[in-house]
């Protein structure tokens, strides 16, 4: 169903126009705040880049890695960001698939997180290489020496899965932006008009085009879910395939996927809250959205807890010689502080906040999400490092302390992630305008009756969860 096929009332026309104005405001007006934010983020990000150049020049030894802890912060961050990337595509695809009407203002924020988290996360395998300038040897291209990459290596699966995922996610993100860019094109002049003309790819809004868009989105929705699941499963197999006590576990695939969605939702909630505040989107990103995402987060928190419990319990009960030193170092050794912080962050704190309806407010969900993001980062760290410190032969155990280089790069890339997101919100309407309208058209009658859409936040569930969008 295309918007222009619907009879439009005046009220709705006005309302639609107001939505457009609200959502396009950031694109047309640039405040000093924007420059400040960009400036600060660049200032944090550049040292990270400098640190990476320094590391490439001096040698990976400037990081805190050693024999036998060959992986540390970089791989932790890699897994963390790939996990965050499950915010978008997977969530929005699932919501699209089950046709949850309330998803409409949420999907684009989420999908953008996916793309940028992948961009950031995907850098870490290169940053962590001993000879990063040769990263392209991971790419299966026909070389003159007929040397292909090793398709048996989980790292290559990683490369393929992530590149597939990022291709899919970008497509998934860009397709529904096209009509919105067309809107921008139609409303702008000069250089901006020329740029958006190119970006809009000649979108005219004909029924044919709408039909094709809908079809493409339906296909992508179905296709992206298995890709997303596979990506984090494969990331988990980087560990599970290696013969390292504490890594070699069948539960890692689903455990990682659940953790990824978990951290993704948390990242999404935080992003939404910030967008809501800074872009004045209070009318569009309502407590209902936070409430609903909060419920999802609660579900994932429970699932996460179940997986952690299952993984820890079986290791403990199995009591294998090689597994136990690493296990105990996490449960009550030098990593116990981090472990229990993680449990608090991922379960003990968010669970009550999210389970008690009164606390599941915007503030409540944001607090819960913040702890979850921290907790999930710790979880990645606790998977990577303690196991490597305690491999089979105790004589060779080692320890790991990150250096300023790793921390600078980590902070810098995080700033890079936020910067990309800020710029995205600057050049793209962060809420899909046409989809929002599509959702509302369905209940035109009610809207007309109330005269207001999505203002008070007390929109009846029937509207938000409308099924004919």
């Amino acid at each position: 169903m295309a918007p222009n096929s619907v009879t439009q009332t005046n009220v709705i026309d006005q309302e639609a126009e107001r939505i457009r104005e609200d959502l396009l405001r950031p694109l047309f007006r640039t405040s000093w705040r924007f420059y400040t934010v960009v400036g600060v983020l660049v200032a944090i990000g550049l040292p990270g880049l400098a640190a990476f150049i320094y590391q490439s020049y001096s040698g990976l030894g400037v990081a805190g890695l050693s024999n036998p802890v060959f992986w540390g912060f970089y791989i932790t961050n890699f897994v963390f960001w790939i996990g965050i990337s499950h915010a978008g595509t997977l969530i929005s695809a699932i919501l699209r698939l089950v046709n949850a009407g309330w998803r409409r203002p949420v999907t684009r924020c989420a999908e953008a997180i996916t793309v940028f988290a992948l961009v950031i996360g995907g850098q870490f395998p290169v940053i962590h290489l001993g000879r990063p300038w040769l990263f392209f040897w991971l790419i299966p291209y026909p070389s003159e020496r007929h040397i292909w990459p090793n398709f048996r290596s989980p790292l290559l699966w990683d490369f393929l899965a992530i590149s597939t995922y990022i291709t899919g996610s970008v497509t998934f993100l860009l397709l529904p932006i096209i009509p919105d860019w067309a809107t921008v094109r139609d409303r702008s002049t000069g250089l901006r008009k020329r740029i958006y003309t190119v970006l809009a790819l000649g979108w005219q809004g004909t029924p044919r085009e709408w039909h094709r868009l809908e079809t493409a989105m339906s296909i992508m929705t179905v296709a992206i879910i298995p890709v997303a699941v596979s990506v984090h499963s494969i990331v988990s197999w980087d560990f599970a395939m290696a013969l390292v006590p504490g890594w070699h576990s069948t539960v890692f695939g689903p455990y990682f996927v659940v953790g990824a969605i978990f951290s993704g939702i948390a990242a999404l909630i935080i992003a939404m809250a910030l967008l809501r505040k800074f872009l004045h989107l209070e009318e569009y990103l309502t407590p209902v959205h936070f409430n609903n995402l909060g419920k999802l987060l609660l579900l994932m928190s429970l699932l996460w807890f179940y997986f952690v419990f299952a993984e820890r319990l079986t290791v403990w009960y199995g009591n294998e010689t090689a597994e136990m030193p690493g296990f105990w170092s996490v449960q009550r050794g030098q990593f116990a502080g981090l472990f229990w912080t993680m449990v608090a962050c991922n379960f003990l704190i968010p669970f009550p906040i999210l389970a008690i309806k009164k606390l599941r407010t915007i503030t409540g969900t944001v607090i819960a999400s913040a702890t979850v993001v921290v907790g999930m980062w710790l979880e990645r760290f606790l998977i990577v490092v303690p196991s490597l410190e305690h491999k089979f032969l105790p004589y060779n155990w080692g320890s790991y302390r990150p250096t300023w280089v790793e921390i600078t790069i980590m902070v810098g890339t995080a700033a890079g992630m936020v910067l990309l997101y800020v710029l995205f919100a600057k050049f793209v309407p962060i809420i899909s305008m046409w989809e929002l309208r599509g959702g509302e058209h369905a209940t035109a009658a009610e809207v007309a009756a109330r005269g207001v859409v999505g203002r008070s936040g007390a929109v009846p569930d029937a509207t938000l969860l409308g099924t004919n969008g």
């Binding site: 001096s58 040698g59 990976l60 030894g61 805190g64 890695l65 050693s66 024999n67 036998p68 802890v69 060959f70 992986w71 395998p125 962590h128 290489l129 001993g130 000879r131 990063p132 040769l134 990263f135 040897w137 991971l138 040397i147 990459p149 090793n150 048996r152 290596s153 989980p154 790292l155 290559l156 490369f159 980087d238 395939m241 290696a242 013969l243 390292v244 490597l388 491999k391 089979f392 032969l393 004589y395 060779n396 080692g398 320890s399």
Partner: protein, 227 residues
Amino acid sequence: MAHQWGMVIDLDRCTGCEACVVACHAENNIATVSPEEAARGRTMHWIHVERHWEGEYPNVRARFRPVLCQQCGAAPCEPVCPTYASYHTAEGLNAQVYNRCIGTRYCANACPYTVRVFNWFSPEWDKPLHLQLNPDVSVREGGVMEKCTFCSQRITAAEIHAQAENRELRDGDVTPACVQSCPAGAMVFGDLSDPTSQVSRLARLARGSKLLEELGTLPAITYLERE
């Protein structure tokens, strides 16, 4: 039939003298890394002698076990390498192609014996220590994984030598530097595909076992336990 190189280490003979360790350094251009780097666990030993304490004073014992690359038949390090830098040779060696290595360090994580070492920095030799470098062995640059090769350069040299004399390799023609140096004769090297070779005969002894045998890595090194 291709040779299958293997080793037997008799722990009843090994006295922990570590002659093998220095022999390996001298033969294979292994750099020393400085005290600061050593303190971070970044020494480059291809072979080390593990020491395990048993019991408490006065009923205390120490046991030694030289550990080097076990040249596994089913090596966990090989499939995980995305660039084939780590691969299996026809003669059963877990080879490492330094030029192919991009430094993912995945192989070292996968190795249960922790015998792969990484060049965290490019190695340096205070002049004129570089004059000692063995021209038969390449010097590795920073960012590259390296490991015991069973002294493949010595294997090649012995093969060329045999070829020049128009004969097959004989048992004992090849001795890696560690084996050559071992004063107590604890290490024996040879062709496991030849059932009459000394290494094959020793590997069949009842005292023999493989390190972490239960992992199914099929090591080419057999340890003969202390009696």
